[in-house]
Symmetry: C3
Subunit: 348 residues, 3 copies
């Protein structure tokens, strides 16, 4: 197990040390569960109660939270981000032995740098460009002409269609599918009867993904119809997210699980989209917008703010009444109008 003294941690990650710098840390833990040899963090005054009784060997706090507990402390502006970096330090990614598995199938046109790992069952197509320290997981399929930047990692069972461009330091979880055909069909009448059928619009655009993009398990991003689908640098997508063709997701936007974004939607930078939210197609959402979980966005949003649409949940019997009255809102409004008229013309 890797362990660090507080002095070593502060010298690597910054922050101000209070207390014994020789205190040894082996693991990160939560305020509630941390024990000797572990370090926790406190980022908010609502956790002061936990902080006071914390059993950790040290804590990461901000200036406002300093000296609430008696144990050694690292003081920093952003305890949560500090904790994230420290957790990466004490939980290093298991080192993989570089090399191409004899059970992988790599096209002869492809040069795999010696620093890369290509695992068993991975299949890599023609003219694929692979940067240094790239990991291609077990049973991945990488199509022709794909490029993958330095230090990017594809977990097992990732599918990357032909021509997709992937930046550096990306991480795709298992089951991710990048670059499948977008959903585009033109309705055509049968000449001989009144019925119709669907003619597929060839989807000839690519998916272009920036640097530091993380994509969660079983998430799908379709290729563009004519132009490209674009995911800018720093975007983080959770599991089971659907990004339609020709979407453009701005840098550092985070999208939680089960979100669907329909084709040609443009989402700004630094947006936060809650789980199971939906964004209709051909909309534009400016930078810095927050969309609450479960909210369907049906129009463009021109002003940074938080937007919500949810029926409040109730006991089922109460909801039945609410639902009945939602359907009667027209009638309610009419009754109010009649009352207003009667009051204004009491002799009617």
């Amino acid at each position: 197990m890797t362990s660090f003294t507080l002095t070593e941690i502060v010298s690597q990650l910054g922050g101000e040390l209070r207390g014994d710098g020789d205190t040894t840390i082996e693991r990160v833990a939560s305020l509630a569960n941390a024990k000797a040899g572990q370090i926790a963090f406190c980022a908010h005054s609502k956790y002061f109660v936990l902080l006071e009784s914390c059993q950790a060997s040290a804590v990461i706090v901000n200036a406002q939270s300093a000296d609430i507990c008696k144990i050694p402390q690292i003081i920093t502006d952003n305890p949560y981000a500090y904790f994230a970096k420290l957790s990466a330090l004490v939980n290093p990614t298991p080192a993989l032995v570089p090399g191409v598995s004899s059970h992988a199938t790599v096209d002869l046109t492809v040069n795999i740098p010696a620093s890369c790992v290509v695992m068993a069952g991975a299949i890599i197509g023609k003219n694929v460009l692979i940067g240094n320290y790239v990991v291609i997981g077990a049973n991945c399929v990488v199509g022709d002409n794909v490029s993958i930047g330095d230090n990017s990692v594809l977990d097992a069972h990732v599918t990357v269609y032909a021509n997709v461009q992937i930046g550096a330091r990306c991480h795709f979880s298992s089951g991710v599918v990048i670059g499948a055909d977008g959903f585009g069909y033109a309705e055509e009448k049968n000449s001989h009867n009144n019925s119709s059928y669907w003619v597929k619009i060839p989807q000839v655009g690519r998916v272009v993904i920036g640097d530091d993009v993380d994509i969660g398990a079983n998430t799908t991003i379709d290729c563009g119809a004519l132009d490209d689908t674009v995911i800018e640098s720093g975007v983080k997508l959770d599991n089971l997210v659907q990004i339609g063709h020709n979407c453009h997701i701005g840098a550092h936007t985070v999208i939680a699980g089960c979100v669907g974004i329909a084709g040609s939607a443009i989402v700004g930078k630094h947006c936060k989209i809650g789980g199971a939210a939906m964004i209709l197609g051909h909309l534009t959402i400016v930078d810095g917008v927050t969309i609450s979980p479960g909210t369907m966005i049906t129009r463009s949003i021109k002003q940074a703010d938080t937007y919500t649409a949810l029926m409040p949940f109730q006991r089922h019997d109460d909801w039945l009444k609410t639902a009945a009255q939602v359907r009667k809102l027209n009638e309610l409004t009419d009754r109010i109008k009649l009352l207003e008229r009667a009051l204004n013309n009491p002799k009617d």
Copy 2:
């Protein structure tokens, strides 16, 4: 790059040519972005502004839009469908070399026609019937007794369970799972205490899929419990759609991303189901119904129309007030009743 003159295009796809038939087209593009050597289309008067300033070498228009711009034109009743067919002409699917990869695992009982492609890592079970010009992508798994019609394409990482029937000219994107067990359990009491557990109902039906069915990435279609799950010809499913056991989806119905259809729902032909809509089980929806995105259908629909259920989204602060009042609709109605009574009996 493939290129065609307008005369060649009209001779293959029909339509009326106006202007220089020797104009050469190399690519399809959007009205806004098209350049020399490219062709765009205009299907709606709201794009006339773009049409007037279009930089394409030619455009596809209908009779109402003819002669708005000065460049060569192809006139047709349905410019969008024409564009789709033309795009397929200028963007032919890359030719694959027929044959079975030495890295595929094909059961000895299976005859793969010489016109087919079976890619590396594909695994094909016993007694599978495969038509001509079928493509089985990398790492696909095809179970025993499956049949796949002529010209159908399975992209990489598709799973087809045993006994599934697939028609001709189908296209399944990566991550599609066809024929997994439906979700059926009977609740059983423990004899020795008050608790209960779930007994699985064996799912012994098949999935039967017609011709020209497209299925998007990571979409799942469960096998039937006793009878079959049926997807009729011409159905198009987007990504991350869930079709429960014993559903029956009528011909030429289109279903957008993130839709869930619960078990035993019967959806008519030529329906259009918007993204993230949900249809409860054991319902019947007639032909030609449109369901708006995000809408939960809780009862059968007997009349072709468009149906919607959505909370309108608002700034979060406004929504908080709306939500509070939705919960108070009962009280509001009571207050209106009291007002009505007071007005009718002013002396009370």
Copy 3:
């Protein structure tokens, strides 16, 4: 085809036989479709009409439904659960030949019991512990240090990340991803400008899954951030469900398709969660709660009951009016207040 007499069935599964015990049953079927040689069940009085005209060779009924039809009957307290067990009897899972495919890649540290099946393309990492009668489907990927209990089955294309613990008699459908990184990032400011970026929180917890857990196609369960994500015994998950990091799902809870449960939510035992429902993170839901389909749960639930939140669907034109009035609920309330004031102070 396996066939059983009613006497044989009752001797194996219990229940009271009425009628000819030599009646032979080859197949289970629905009341509406059953024919000679088949057996159906009736669990509810609303199906008595079907029961009266049923063409099956026998039926499974409860005491209240006995003697409604003249055909041989098995009488039991829970006809649906009895039917489930009988269906398993007449539809035995196809026997697989034990053994490890020569196209599988199994690490040398792993001992595969002779009773197990490991199919082609499966990849099994270091120090994996595999119980007896386990099936690892085609192209599955099982990470280092995973343990899988007796009789568990992974269908094709399942991904199990390193360190995941799986109990006995579990069944995972294709496309399932267990143990991918949870979605956790800390926001960090750039020191040189006003912008921010996301620092990944390492996800070092495991997923721990009990016995008799079924997981549907393309469902994802993330590993914990610090502590484990826990799925207790008897839980049944449908397709395309997302379970966030550090969730704890209580025993025998059933979760229908397309449900999302955000990180650190605690769901009790014996809950029933309808399709496309969503549960926000860091909530606690007590045992025995039912959540209706499509319902977003935004607060903890402390009392067992059924909870619902849905806009009722309407014809689109009607909904447009409803939506407009939902936005005006504030105004409606104000108008009612004015009316009340005017009535109480008629001279104002």
